[in-house]
Symmetry: C2
Subunit: 218 residues, 2 copies
């Protein structure tokens, strides 16, 4: 039995972040699907709410520690503590703080505004159709990416912060997938697009991608 179980969903960017970390660190894990659409949303069922009262993915269970954690940012910090190599905060305090600032921009300023629960609300309350939902999501992604591009243009190399993968890349790449899905023009964000291409060459990112998950398209 694996030490870790990840409850996630193939297209959830927050689940994807955690999958990348698990693969980068070579951590064996059980990959369980909480299907956000089927059955009216499996995340709303009592057995899952007992793990995460917010009814969101991901949730990580560490069977060895008897611990269940929610919030991808918290899960990622825990994995970094438990399996430090390769380090995803590889710099000094000031450098790592900039990485965290960038991750937080995506985690609070982009992702929450374009996820399934919000798109369901604009449809249910205001009758937004598919193009209106995509335009909403694209607006918030482009707003955040405009800031992200500015933040990275002087520090980005092959990856967000220089020439090695950091936690910032784990937040950025799944969000770029969302950008493509909702029709954001990525030519406006050349630094981000360049980093996306480099991450796409890495095995951990490929294995963690939505299409490679057992619940993809199901």
């Amino acid at each position: 039995m694996s030490r870790f179980t990840l409850y996630g969903y193939w297209r959830s960017s927050c689940s994807w972040r955690v999958r990348i970390a698990l693969h980068l660190k070579g951590i064996d894990f059980e990959n369980l699907s909480v299907h956000l659409v089927k059955d009216g949303g499996q995340q709303h069922k009592a057995d899952y709410l007992a793990l995460n009262p917010m009814g969101q993915v991901p949730c990580l269970v560490d069977h060895q520690a008897g611990l269940s954690l929610t919030q991808s940012a918290i899960i990622l910090d825990y994995l970094e503590e438990q399996v430090p190599e390769p380090a995803l905060y590889p710099g000094d305090a000031g450098h790592n703080r900039r990485i965290r600032e960038f991750c937080t921009l995506i985690n609070t300023g982009i992702q929450p505004l374009q996820n399934l629960a919000v798109l369901q609300q604009i449809e249910g309350r205001f009758g937004a159709d598919a193009p209106a939902k995509a335009a909403w999501a694209a607006h918030f992604i482009a707003r955040g990416f405009t800031a992200a591009e500015t933040m990275l243009k002087d520090v980005g190399g092959d990856f967000c912060f220089g020439d090695r993968v950091t936690m910032a890349d784990l937040f950025l790449i799944p969000q770029i997938f969302g950008a493509h899905r909702f029709g954001v023009d990525m030519t406006a964000f050349p630094t981000l697009a360049r980093i996306d291409a480099h991450c796409g060459d890495l095995d951990a990112f490929v294995k963690a991608a939505p299409g490679a998950q057992p619940d993809a398209q199901s």
Copy 2:
């Protein structure tokens, strides 16, 4: 001259969190208003965007370190490092992780969904009027508070995590102000309401409150 300048807005819950920390830690600071409504939103002006390309408050400048930081969660961690007492993560690693998980729930699962920029979008795109905007905000606050109440009911004392103030209280109290503003029935959340009452007795929370700021109601 103060070592720190805080760029904030009286009714911004993220600015308020940082003000509480500054007052709790007894840190002298210059309190500058970035008015989110006047002049079409001062956060969109070039001079402020140079400080925060995302065009959000707060932003903290540490003149001594020559450092400018965005994202309230990052600013709060920085203040905790620079002025450790009173500690806002006062427990062991496991306890502090639960505090961070709670803060992240509010920071990603509630606050981003009911702030001014989002309410402006549902008005602009879908014609939402004041009651529809309040109902939207109340929905997301109540959803998050349902999870928050579950998370705290066994660990909450006078404050979120036991009987001393932690970072969790700095995230919760400003969000409860928003709950009242948008008509959320707080009797459904007795643990949260009890903590709110206790925090309301503390000088740091009173000094940091929206109505006590120089730009209040302006």
